[in-house]
């Protein structure tokens, strides 16, 4: 029996391949697993071995042709064997071959599938038709790979249970009523970055309870007409000063060395409807609280309007994230690689605290430092946080 050689599926999302070279020509004999042809998909060139030993009886896809996966590109026959007329007829009936076939062009895939039809019994053919399936898609387990009644029924059962089936993947609904959609670029990027960071850094978190009464007083003292810098700007300023004083928290681990950047480039995480972006305020150590406030407002506004330039989200050396605006009491953030630490701001609210043995209402917030223990030890992280806290509370250092 002749063996069909199919265009292999070289990956989950790959629908077609281009023939680059036939290693063997019609009439040449070939061993099983000996290279038969080469294909190209994306920037990958792959050598495809023959599925059977015999003689190359037919080549159905020429060099340069792009054909859908699982279509028959060649037929391997036994020495001296006559290839069934039915297969040959397909060649006659389909003399014009398109040079390139789009993956959605299902009509182009059909001629090759018709070629498999003669090997079906009338019963199997009727069964396949009843279920609306293409018999050439079914793996045959019968004699010489013949598709049997059981194969068709198994295929039908599998099709119903497998939501990743090629036919249903595009539609996006499974028999269970789940819906699916392809991962967007940003989502995929965030997913990769987060998992990579967890895998790379030795995450440790330390939480400080910080009093914001002094910051609130300073904000209240700003005379009417000018905008009082937000809490985040004050926090950013305190963090920036502490990073200058303790450069290791601003540093990053690179291969086998510690790299100390020239500046403090502060990333501010901005939540978007569709994800998250971290615009960076460059050389923040040279900016006043007012400048930082203006930069935060500008960058977050433009981030939401998708107007950031690529270099405005690059080169961060430390990140601040502020889930407090959503009500989070405190967070345990993941470090934004290749940075070594991240500060998380909890909700800023009045809470009862003990001052001079009396319980009073004070404006407080929990600030968390997430740090990479590979580079920063706990004592260093806590000294850093003491600096941030004392600066916000205007305690003398």
């Amino acid at each position: 029996m002749p063996t069909d050689v199919l265009m292999p599926q070289m990956g989950e999302s790959i629908a077609e391949g281009t023939i680059v070279r036939w290693v063997k020509n019609v009439g040449e004999s070939i061993e099983r697993d000996e290279p038969l042809f080469e294909i190209s998909t994306d920037k990958v060139d792959a050598e495809i071995p023959s599925p059977a030993a015999g003689v190359v009886a037919q080549i159905r896809a020429q060099v340069g042709e792009t054909v859908p996966v699982n279509s028959v590109v060649a037929v391997i026959g036994n020495q001296g064997e006559q290839i069934p007329a039915a297969s040959a007829q397909v060649e006659v009936a389909e003399p014009v071959r398109l040079p390139a076939v789009s993956p959605l062009d299902t009509t182009a895939a059909r001629p090759s599938r018709v070629a498999a039809a003669p090997r079906l019994s009338p019963l199997v053919r009727r069964l396949a038709a009843e279920h609306g399936i293409d018999p050439s898609c079914v793996n045959g387990t019968g004699e010489d790979g013949r598709v049997t009644r059981a194969d068709v029924l198994a295929y039908v059962a599998r099709r119903h249970s497998d939501s990743s089936d090629a036919d249903t993947a595009a539609v996006g609904t499974s028999p269970l009523g789940e819906t699916s959609e392809p991962l967007g670029v940003m989502r995929r990027f965030i997913a990769e970055r987060m998992v990579a960071s967890r895998r790379t850094a030795a995450h440790v978190h330390t939480v400080f309870d910080v009093d914001f009464s002094r910051v609130a007083a300073r904000r209240a003292s700003v005379s009417g007409g000018t905008r009082a810098p937000g809490y985040l700007a004050h926090i950013a300023k305190a963090v920036s000063d502490a990073l200058v004083a303790m450069p290791v928290v601003n540093a990053s681990l690179r291969a086998d060395s510690v790299v100390y950047p020239r500046h403090v480039n502060l990333g501010i995480a901005v939540a978007l409807e569709w994800g998250l972006i971290v615009p960076v305020i460059k050389a923040v150590e040279s900016l006043s609280v007012e400048d930082i406030d203006a930069a935060i407002v500008d960058l977050s506004t433009r981030a939401r309007a998708k107007q950031l330039a690529p270099d405005e989200v690059e080169g961060g050396t430390f990140t601040i994230t502020n889930p407090g605006v959503f009500g989070s009491v405190y967070g345990l953030p993941i470090i934004n690689q290749p940075q070594s630490a991240i500060l998380c701001v909890g909700v800023i609210e009045k809470r009862p605290v003990v001052v001079d043995d009396a319980v009073v209402a004070r404006l407080r917030s929990y600030l968390t430092l997430g740090f990479d223990h590979r580079l920063i030890d706990g004592a260093v992280a806590d000294r850093f946080m003491v600096r941030v806290r004392d600066s916000l509370e205007e305690r003398s250092l």
């Binding site: 070289m10 790959i14 792959a46 290749p338």
Partner: protein
């Protein structure tokens, strides 16, 4: 390199990976080494390898570059005068340039059983290069439909891969301190109006080739869940 790399690099439970730093290797010799390694890998006689090396100046034309002679901008005779070799090679991709200062990485590894996906493989190679660039403070990325690693509109690293029975060969080329002038002889990868760049051009104090090789080996092991063995 593998010896002083130790076994601490990569996933402790991962598939073993041998990393070799070979220095300057003529293109033909590297091809021959790869051919031998691919055969040994297919036979199961050797573990996965990552070869890191430099080539003397050479222009190579991949499978999709044949018939695009317009992508070679000077005559072959002119190249010969300038001491630049030219080779047709059986890898994916169009035309590219290799030369000193560029780290070429040839992974010879089996993608079986769980990584049999060419698109994933290319994307993983890109990931290795993006993370390596990030190690030195360079934010590189992908450009949809254009394989390779880009900084803005300029290509930092090129990718061209060959598979035989899911064993990889060829690989990537990362410009560290490449003489970018030599790229003017070609239209890299057949892409017009897009430039090339290097870490040297992007950074005030560029890393040494050895530093970059260490970072590449580390990121490669991490992305491919490999454990570097001596």
């Amino acid at each position: 390199m593998s010896a002083d790399h130790g076994s601490a690099v990569g996933d402790p439970h991962g598939t073993p990976l041998v990393v070799r730093s070979l220095g300057l290797v003529p293109y033909e010799d590297a091809l021959e080494q790869q051919r031998a390694l691919v055969a040994a890998r297919q036979a199961g006689d050797t573990p996965d390898h990552l070869l890191l090396l430099e080539h003397p100046a050479v222009i190579t034309v991949g499978v999709s570059g044949r018939g695009h002679s317009e992508h070679l901008l000077v005559s072959r005779a002119y190249l010969a005068e300038h001491g630049i070799d030219i080779h047709d090679v059986a890898r994916g991709g169009d035309i590219t340039y290799h030369g000193p200062g560029q780290i070429v990485g040839y992974p010879v590894m089996s993608l079986k059983p769980d990584r049999c996906d060419v698109r994933r493989y290319v994307s993983d190679l890109e990931e290795v290069l993006i993370r390596t660039a990030a190690c030195f403070g360079v934010t590189a990325g992908r450009v949809a439909g254009m394989t390779g690693v880009w900084v803005g509109n300029e290509k930092l690293a090129a990718i061209g891969v060959r598979l035989s029975r899911w064993v990889t060969s060829h690989g990537f080329a990362l410009n560290v301190a490449t003489n970018l002038d030599h790229f003017r002889f070609i239209v890299p990868c057949g892409l017009e109006r897009r430039g090339v760049t290097s870490l040297q051009r992007l950074l005030p104090t560029p890393p040494s080739l050895r530093e970059v090789e260490l970072a590449l080996a580390t990121e490669f092991a991490s992305v491919f869940d490999r454990r570097v063995i001596p």
